[in-house]
């Protein structure tokens, strides 16, 4: 049994108050929501905050709503809530599929959508779908507010571009993305309670002639950060949506990835699985598109 190193716990009653606290304790405080990543890190002493600012119960940060055809999700929305949401299921299928595969039941009841992004683990399951959906995060501090595209949020393994006093407040998925079929696939060492060996999300827009009008392919766990497979996207754009082209694009996605060998899997295996998952995800997304 290992006790957590001591810290002070603060429970602000509003976002405003939490921003003030983060500014006051800049660098010495960490935001806590579900704690499924943070508490593990505190116990392992990879982080040693002096102060925790708890935003988990702030109602201002817990919502899923439609806004001008797009989807807005509060930062502290539980991943279990995403899983249960009809709106998310219909408007952001890849996100919905990912939400059902984070950790297990218990994890999803605590973990939050923004917490998964802020922990910036390269295999974060929320990242590839949000990148494929062209999502942005709204980030606030006492100095003001800014929006960052999710694909630009990550600086390296377990690192974001956020400053110590900044707080993600919501995630915005644009209306254009909400009409397209999307798909998320995760390969793990087992069916639950596993980080991804590779995870993939794709969004596909098909034209009336059956060609690819727009495509996003996002990969996790195969680079220092979640990435877009840009050369795969560029190649596939404009071509016919068929199995042969999906396979070529999937091979290019594998080449776009930069996996490492670790205790979960070898680099070569990960690269091969990028191709398999990307091909399958493109195929599933295009089938879903035809059904609409």
């Amino acid at each position: 049994m290992k006790a957590l190193k001591p810290f002070a716990y603060l429970a602000p009653s509003s976002v405003e108050e939490s921003l003030k606290m983060l500014a006051e304790y800049s660098g010495r405080a960490k935001v806590i929501a579900g704690g499924t990543d943070l508490i593990v890190n505190i116990r392992a002493e990879t982080v040693t905050p002096e102060v925790l600012v708890d935003i988990e119960r702030l109602e201002e940060l817990r919502f899923i709503r439609v806004d001008q055809g797009g989807l807005r999700i509060g930062a502290a929305t539980k991943i279990a809530e995403l899983e249960r949401s009809e709106l998310v299921r219909e408007m952001a299928p890849a996100l919905h599929q990912a939400a059902g595969q984070v950790g297990a039941v218990q994890t999803r009841n605590l973990a939050t959508i923004a917490g998964n992004l802020a922990s910036a683990v390269p295999s974060a399951d929320m990242a590839p779908p949000l990148i494929a959906l062209d999502a942005e995060v709204v980030v606030r501090s006492t100095a003001g507010s800014r929006t960052i595209k999710v694909e630009s949020l990550f600086a390296g393994p377990k690192a974001t571009v956020l400053k110590p006093d900044e707080l993600i407040t919501e995630i915005i998925i644009p209306a254009a993305s909400c009409k397209d079929p999307s798909c998320f696939l995760k390969l793990g060492r087992r069916k639950a309670l596993t980080l991804a060996i590779v995870n993939t999300a794709v969004r596909l827009r098909l034209g009336t002639e059956g060609n690819v009008e727009d495509v996003r392919i996002a990969l996790g766990a195969v680079a220092p950060t979640p990435i877009r497979a840009r050369s795969a996207e560029a190649w596939l754009l404009g071509r016919k949506a068929n199995a042969e082209n999906f396979d070529i694009a999937a091979e290019k996605a594998a080449q776009d990835s930069k996996p490492i060998t670790d205790f979960r899997a070898g680099a070569e295996y990960r690269r091969k699985m990028v191709r398999v998952l990307t091909r399958r995800a493109l195929s599933l997304a295009s089938e879903a598109g035809e059904r609409c």
Binding site: M1, K2, A3, L4, K5, P6, F7, A8, Y9, L10, A11, I32, G34, G35, T36, I39, V40, R43, E50, L52, D54, E56, A80, G103, A104, V105, Q106, T107, N109, L110, K191, A192, L193
Partner: protein, 165 residues
């Protein structure tokens, strides 16, 4: 660095509890060491085994990851709260009848996850059950009898008209 100290009040297995906790105390530690509820087990302490599963406002969570201070004003249910006096919960009866325990260490967590599943979905398929306990690891049994026991408990609860605990 001193931990901040907090008075908390929460409902534990239907009864209001008042206690004082340090900021860095987890719910798991407070339940076991401070309040004497040792039914909930300490497994991995990283949220990866489910041995510490309790229900927080009816939802299964890993008590090793929840700071005790966070349960102020909320409801916690542990395995000790399943039985009504001497009357075991149908899940407990089914686990016994089906031989779903060997060493028993995963048991409390399994029971709590199963209870949450059946409270939300009184008529689960086998797939539903497997998914419902996917956050609880068992080293001994291979899960088959656990799944059978949960399905049996569902039938028992439906036969007795639904609401038990």
């Amino acid at each position: 660095m001193e931990a901040s100290v907090h008075s908390i009040e929460f409902v534990l297995n239907g009864t209001t509890v008042k206690t004082t906790v340090k900021a860095n105390d987890t719910l798991l530690n407070v339940l076991r060491a401070q309040l004497g509820y040792t039914g909930t087990k300490r497994g991995c302490e990283t949220g990866e085994c489910g041995a510490c599963t309790v229900l927080l406002d009816d939802k299964p969570v890993n008590a090793c990851l929840v700071l005790a201070v966070k349960v102020n004003g909320r409801r916690v249910q542990t395995v000790e709260g399943l039985a009504r006096g001497a009357e075991l919960h149908p899940l407990q009866k089914a686990f016994i009848e089906e031989g779903a325990l060997q060493c028993g260490f995963c048991g409390p967590g399994m029971l709590m996850s199963a209870k949450a599943l059946l409270d939300e979905n009184p008529n689960p398929t086998e797939e539903d059950v497997r998914r419902g306990i996917s956050g609880n690891i068992c080293r001994c049994t291979g899960y088959a009898k656990i799944v059978k026991a949960v399905l049996k408990a569902a039938k028992m609860m439906a036969a007795s008209g639904g609401e038990t605990a």
